[in-house]
Symmetry: C2
Subunit: 223 residues, 2 copies
Amino acid sequence: MTVKATVTRRTSDLEAAILAAARDVLAQRGLDGLSMRAVAERVGVSATALYHYFENKDALVERVVQSGFLRFGEYLQEAAERHPHGSLERVRALGEAYVHFALENQAYFRVLFSLRPGHPQKIGDLPDGGGYGLLRAAVVDSMAAGTMRRTDPDLVVMYLWSMTHGLVTIAMACRIEECPELGPGITGRQPLDLFKAFGTFVRDGLAQRSDEGATANTGEGSA
Amino acid sequence: MTVKATVTRRTSDLEAAILAAARDVLAQRGLDGLSMRAVAERVGVSATALYHYFENKDALVERVVQSGFLRFGEYLQEAAERHPHGSLERVRALGEAYVHFALENQAYFRVLFSLRPGHPQKIGDLPDGGGYGLLRAAVVDSMAAGTMRRTDPDLVVMYLWSMTHGLVTIAMACRIEECPELGPGITGRQPLDLFKAFGTFVRDGLAQRSDEGATANTGEGSA
DNA sequence: GCGTTAAGTTAACACTGTTAACCTATTCAG
DNA sequence: CTGAATAGGTTAACAGTGTTAACTTAACGC
């Protein structure tokens, strides 16, 4: 145990080790299992040692969240760059990446957007704006390219973000694919699959259009 | 203290008192402040007495959640009944009621849709299906009345639910109206106001339509 | 009147975040 | 080179949590 102590004497890479341990514990045992003692034990240090690097548990969690947002933002960016500027596909890809990342890193994501009171963080404080700027740019580009109707881009971003985030949140609260009462159109379908199906609604809206007969009963498109 | 004891000796209205106290504590001090001892003290009883009526804290919370969903469902129903069957207004009213109730009962709503692991409840277990059936009926009616395009109603419900729930969730995680980085179209606007603005997108979609010029830059409609 | 049982009590355990007091090795001033 | 200061760790302890065990006490059926 004193081994690590003498080694890390020089600089504070212990801080990094603590953060890494906190991430691991969070991913494995969830937010409830994330205790100061658990993190400390994983690092091989006493619990109170953590207080030399973080003011309290909230501060530690906040740092974990920040690094989480960073990874999240990078993931979104990579997804966006696989599609041309100004295309609706780029917007859609961002949404799909959002859903995918959230479900692959559930314990993580729960904290990122934890509903806990006292956690109302401003979006601007997050690295990369939590991906907001990324989506906004894609929307603005699409409007400029003429693939998306021109309106207030912020309003559109908020709308798309809400829909995507809501799907993820609901999927986490109750396993959608295991809810038979949701009807045959939902049961058995993964959240990502549902998201893709929403694409039709987002593009063309829900209102009955005058230029289409009452017979149309389309499934979901591909793009 | 023995006053209440001798009074409640007869039947178990203590159970109801505990539930009421739990609701109060939850609303006032939030989920973190909801401890067995706090609830017990409010009732005027020892903490361990609660275990005669509820297996553990989770069971107590679950009962609180159930009664919460009941109130939630009633609130939604009242909102729906103020608009005619088959109208899009009825669908929209349900969404607005959803947003309004959530923001007026935040501490409550956080638990209703808590992201906590181990809480993935099936929708069918909730009273009234958590309002799902209500929205579904409104959607089906609208499709039958020809005001809404015909598609899989469950998919539409899931789409509308996601969007609405996402907006609420985001609004709770970070006070939207205090985020200047969200652009002038968002800052200062209440979530309910944003929801109404989404109506245009939901009805007509985001895609550029061939029958409209590139000059259209509409605000949000009224209905 | 007597046991049984329901409904409450206190004491205690294991766990949590956090603080205080302490030790120790490194660093830096004189 | 010595000695003080300090950064970085330790153990002990406190208040709070959910929960269990053991105990009391009041009400009911026979």
